[in-house]
Subunit: 262 residues, 2 copies
């Protein structure tokens, strides 16, 4: 059963998100804190980066810091809040300055690329799926960056909002495929090519009428030649670039329509 956060918990997590990262050393009785929220979050991010979200537990984070799981609860209300913090802090890493001098399109592309990079460096971001927007500084930072870059199209902000969310979705969706392919390759030890090959053989054997049942899919075939380069990962990148171009073409159309019939 899911426990839901009351009002007090909401305040607590917002304070953690927005509060000062470097806490002034406490004065008063009691032992000095040996940990800090930031240290805990950093350790958790390290684990998620290196071993995936499945290996992230309060125990594993505690262990990495030389403590038990329960020690963390002095600093962080629970795992949910810890993950929210990880998520928001990581989003905050997104670079924020994009030159618009070579046009909005180039700026939008390099921003999308930075977002792609960020997600590929921290693939667990895609598994977080905050039950509601986290509303932390990192999330705001990303929104602000996206909005301000896309605002240079000259479109009204009320429309830019939708461009932003579409772009964000395209990036997230395509990078997810890339990230999952990497993770699966690491977990199974199988190279992607091997996995794909084994799976195709199995499919052909178990479903002999595959091409008859799904003619269009069959007609498509693999988009890139099999090489030593990871297949699915390459495909995901192509999907990212192509999808982005399509979207930006749509934006261009919108610009022309808005300013065209002058």
């Amino acid at each position: 059963m899911v426990v839901f956060a009351g009002q007090g918990d909401a305040r607590r997590s917002m304070e953690l998100l927005w509060g000062p990262r470097v806490v002034a050393p406490r004065t008063g009785p009691g032992p000095k804190p040996g940990l800090s929220v930031e240290a805990i979050v950093a350790a958790a991010i390290d684990i998620a980066d290196a071993e995936g979200m499945a290996s992230l537990s309060m125990r594993s984070v505690g262990e990495r810091l030389g403590r038990t799981a329960m020690a963390l609860y002095t600093y962080v209300p629970g795992k949910t809040e810890l993950v929210d913090l990880m998520y928001d802090r990581t989003l905050g890493e997104l670079p924020s300055s994009y030159s618009v001098t070579s046009g909005w399109r180039a700026a939008a592309f390099s921003l999308a690329d930075a977002l792609w990079d960020l997600h590929l460096r921290h693939p667990w971001l895609l598994q977080v799926s905050p039950a509601r927007p986290v509303l932390g500084p990192g999330e705001f930072h990303v929104q602000e960056t996206l909005l301000s870059v896309l605002a240079s199209t000259g479109l009204p902000l009320s429309r830019v909002r939708w461009v932003v969310s579409a772009l964000f979705n395209i990036v997230r969706g395509s990078v997810q495929a890339a990230a999952e392919s990497r993770q699966a390759a690491r977990e199974t030890g199988l190279s992607e090519e091997d996995w794909w090959y084994a799976r195709s053989a199995l499919l052909g054997e178990l479903v002999p009428d595959l091409t008859a049942r799904f003619p269009t899919v069959a007609r498509l075939g693999p988009s890139v030649e099999l090489s030593d380069e990871p297949y699915l990962e390459r495909e995901a990148r192509l999907s990212f670039e192509a999808g982005l171009e399509l979207l930006l073409d749509g934006v261009e159309t919108a610009i022309v329509k808005a300013s065209g019939p002058r």
Copy 2:
């Protein structure tokens, strides 16, 4: 630690995905099976639909069928495979016929709409995130439907593929926001408006310089008036429609470019 599937397991799950749904009654010694893979999958889907993925456990599925958790392992290798089956069976529900008589654009829109509906009826689909493509009949069915509808644009299939994945990503991304808003509202008991209001107040109090730090976001404000209609859900739908239009505009550009300079 994640256990990875060997070759034998792969065959077993492919057989479950592609095998006949109605199994002929076994002849031979031993008690008659009281359950079936399909019954188990259906029960699991019911639970996920009604109570969310968090409530889905081998126990809960077994209980719903009047069995213990372990009874399921006679039919299904493990939870992973069960979830794969749920995912693929549900994707198979997508309607497949879309009239192209009123143009590819209308067909694409109604297909995207059906996809949106499907995900909103089964929001847990978005949390499944198969570590690799499931390669089941449902997944193929969706791909086939998307590809064949978008192929009516006349674009080469190699480009249609990217349109398909971009469209899919836009739908998934926007519907995720809608689904999560519903779920959160149900779990917390708070109406969305209430939650949003409480959160804004908290933000304003804890981060007084919010509008200075994120001017563009601040300038945006809420996109729709607060009403009794769920705010985030309405917003998600708008994002879906607007994103889709942008993408389809991009497709139109591609069509013109391809056939234009005749």
